[in-house]
């Protein structure tokens, strides 16, 4: 196959590209320029948006011996990922931009361009496994290295996207990937893993959001100060704007007085229009179910009325989060999920990814949650 290897400049995508070559594919390395104003050098462990990362990717391509180009996806990235990130936070929800980037950029904008240019597939360094079934279907499964498994952020890919994807690292634990990189002479072998959100350079989400959203709309309600209340409605603090708060958040609330019972308080609810943040004890974060919208199926589409249940059916509610056993009903608009194992601090805007054993069935965006004690 003719394969485009998306190379971030990190160790995983470099080894993935090398493995694709070794598997006999005709591989071309691509670095995606996603930032409109790339910084020259990365700071800390973050990486994928600087010129230095682009250079690292280029050097890896040299070592592997494949052609290398930079594709400018900054406009698409801004429109599809960054704007969505801002909109979702502005609405008091918590987005997952990595998921959106996979859905709209890596496996849509890049894939479509690659297919049009005569390539057959896009390879990335994601930790997930693809399997072809006896009937010719395609399935995505969790990676062998459960600690590194990234099937959650790929749960938005549909059957067509999966058919044109390669995840060469899904069968290998991360430490072995690093060893392999060193063995292959890839200088990125020791490069730290990337964390946080790539386009928020200093990791200060709230500060970044405040700056960008106020550029866009200085009168936005969620940028204005408001109050923090407890569940009885009594004011317990103030905030500079609902922006940047996340359901389940405990730190940074700056509540003047401890709760009467002295227990820590968590964000239970965010109401951007009335600029009210509600806090309460940990047990009030527990949910028993949720509603998902905009379903995506990583394989055959499940029509409304289908039900997934049984010991092997689980859902995951955040990246690297726990598996929760669940009963999932497909509705006209998405999914209704009953959790058999309670979950805590689930934020609307994040994805619910449904698994059957290790297989990813599909995903939806969490629109609402049902609290255990309601």
């Amino acid at each position: 196959m003719r394969v485009v290897a998306a190379m971030s400049g990190g160790v995983d995508s470099a080894v993935a590209a090398a493995r694709a070559v070794e598997a006999g594919h005709d591989v071309t390395g691509i670095h995606l320029a996603l930032s409109r104003n790339p910084k020259s050098y990365r700071t800390g462990a973050r990486g994928c948006c600087t010129i230095e990362d682009s250079n690292d990717a280029r050097r890896a391509a040299d070592v592997i011996g494949i052609p290398f180009y930079v594709w400018d996806m900054s406009d698409r990235f801004h429109a599809e990922v960054v704007e969505d990130f801002m909109d979702t936070y502005a609405a008091g929800q918590t987005p997952n931009p990595c998921l959106r980037c996979n859905e709209k950029i890596k496996f849509e904008a890049v894939l479509d361009r690659a297919l049009a240019l005569g390539f057959d597939a896009v390879a990335t360094g994601h930790y997930a496994q693809l399997r072809t079934t006896a009937g010719g279907g395609i399935e995505m499964h969790r990676a062998v290295d459960h600690g590194k498994d990234q099937s959650y952020v790929l749960g938005v890919l549909d059957e067509r996207q999966l058919r044109h994807s390669l995840f060469p690292l899904g069968d290998t634990p991360k430490p072995q990937v690093r060893e392999e990189a060193a063995r292959r002479g890839l200088l990125v072998a020791d490069k730290p893993d990337s964390h946080d959100i790539c386009f928020v350079a200093d990791g200060d989400n709230a500060g970044w959001l405040r700056e960008k959203l106020s550029e866009r709309d200085p009168d936005l309600a969620s940028l204005s100060p408001g109050i923090i209340v407890d569940e009885s409605g009594a004011q317990v603090g103030e905030h500079e704007g609902t922006l940047g708060f996340t359901i389940g958040q405990r730190k940074g609330l700056r509540l003047g007085h401890p709760a009467p019972d002295g227990r820590p308080r968590y964000v239970l609810d965010i109401e951007p229009v009335t600029r009210t943040v509600t806090v309460g004890p940990h047990e009030r974060l527990a949910i028993t179910g949720l509603t998902g919208v905009d379903p995506r199926w990583c394989g055959p589409c499940l029509p409304a009325g289908n039900e997934l249940a049984g010991e092997s059916v689980t859902v995951q509610l955040r990246a690297h989060g726990a598996e929760h056993r669940a009963r999932v009903v497909v509705t006209e608009t998405g999914l209704e999920v009953d959790l058999l194992d309670p979950a805590h601090g689930v934020a609307p805007g994040q994805a619910v990814v449904v698994y059957d054993g290790t297989r990813v069935v599909g995903s939806a965006t969490i629109a609402a949650t049902r609290r255990a004690t309601d």
């Binding site: 790339p38 049009a116 240019l117």
Partner: protein, 391 residues
């Protein structure tokens, strides 16, 4: 899988000619610093000075007017900053620098720097649809306040679309007010006739590797009467304008290449012009709605064919051609590794979409009809693919 390489990017760099390789490699084992007083130093000094004389002879200047540098970019920086500072030193109100909007970044970026850090008033003059400077606009700009102009810098030939600039007219406008003129002739030397004295320019940049010499060496020709403030301070090797131990082997290769290129210039230009014509005709046959940019001969460089392929991204085309061993350029600079729409095309009145759809094929001394035919044979399918990718 890998086919023969068809190299059509000679404006980026061209292979070294035999005469240059021989002149350079013959000196690689020599010991001696051209500034040492002993016999070894004198031997190397002699190589440098003979090279200087060769260069002067080929380019119509005096040996003392040749300042060796590390290449075109350094030559441009030295000319622009060095002349700006010395002219302003002599008269404080000389702060305007007039140039064109289609210069190479080695000119545009130093000018932007002078504007930001040294208070220069940089005015980039408009060009016509072919990329040629608007002389009337230059005249008006000069005459608004001639005494405030520190210098004028206009390239001899554009590196992207190949259009030749009206250097003679620029020089006569400037001469009326005693304003020095610098020209970046990196793309012109050896390709069109370039004679320093006859042209009347005061400073001229050239580069070794664009004429078949080695990379990393070049020269600024600058009239002796002109003061140039140094950028690099140290040993004062090049008439106190440029310091640093001279790279004698590279200089020998550079001089040999320039001598060869100038000697061959007429025959070369005829041969390459015919190849360009074949290329352009073939491309237009394969892609009838392609657009040829720039002046074309005789108003442009004979070896550059710059074409827009509507509905394509130049990047996609470049990659598809590269996969078939055909090497060309989008012509424009990268910013942070991200290709930008060409400022040259934009200045010529094209929109960003149009500017991004372009490729530069530049022919050189090793180009053959087979090279041209291979590019023509490949372009149709590549354009079809690139269009599909750009929908």
């Amino acid at each position: 899988m890998t086919e023969r390489t068809v190299y059509l990017d000679h404006a980026a760099t061209t292979p070294m000619v035999d005469a240059a390789v021989e002149a350079m490699t013959a000196r690689l084992r020599d010991v001696g610093n051209a500034n040492s007083l002993h016999a070894s130093g004198r031997r190397v000094r002699r190589v440098v000075e003979e090279s200087r004389e060769t260069l002067a002879q080929a380019l119509g200047c005096r040996p003392g007017e040749v300042v060796f540098t590390s290449g075109g970019t350094e030559s441009d920086n030295l000319a622009l900053k060095g002349l700006f500072w010395s002219r302003r030193m002599a008269a404080g109100r000389r702060t305007r620098v007039l140039s064109s909007s289609v210069e190479h970044h080695a000119v545009l970026d130093p000018l932007a720097w002078l504007e930001e850090h040294e208070g220069a008033g940089v005015e980039l003059l408009a060009v016509d649809v072919a990329g040629r400077l608007d002389v009337a606009a230059l005249r008006a700009t000069i005459e608004r306040d001639p005494a405030s102009v520190a210098l004028i810098s206009v390239m001899w030939a554009n590196n992207e679309v190949g259009t030749l600039q009206p250097i003679e007219e620029i020089v006569s406008l400037a001469a009326a007010h005693g304003i020095p003129v610098h020209t970046d002739a990196v793309q012109a030397v050896g390709v069109v006739p370039v004679d320093f004295a006859c042209s009347g320019v005061d400073a001229l940049s050239l580069s070794g590797h664009k004429v078949g010499g080695p990379q990393g060496v070049g020269a600024l020709l600058v009239r002796r009467e002109l003061d140039v403030t140094a950028l690099l301070h140290g040993g004062g090797q090049e008439r106190d304008v440029r310091s640093g131990t001279l790279d004698a082997p590279a200089i020998a290769g550079f001089a040999a290449a320039v001598e060869w290129a100038v000697k061959q210039q007429h025959a070369y230009a005829d041969r390459v012009a015919a190849l360009r014509e074949r290329l352009v005709a073939g491309m237009l046959r394969e892609v009838p709605d392609a657009v040829v940019n720039g002046a074309g001969a005789p108003g442009g460089l004979p070896g550059i064919a710059h074409l827009s392929f509507p509905g394509c991204e130049g990047d996609s085309l470049l990659m598809l051609l590269d996969a078939q061993g055909i090497e060309c350029s989008t012509g424009s600079a990268c910013s942070a590794g991200v290709p930008q729409p060409s400022h040259v095309l934009l200045a010529m009145g094209r929109d960003a979409e149009d500017a991004r759809s372009s490729l530069r094929f530049s022919l050189g001394h090793t180009t053959t009809e087979a090279d041209v035919d291979a590019a023509v044979a490949a372009i149709g399918a590549c354009v079809q693919r690139a269009r599909a990718a750009h929908r």
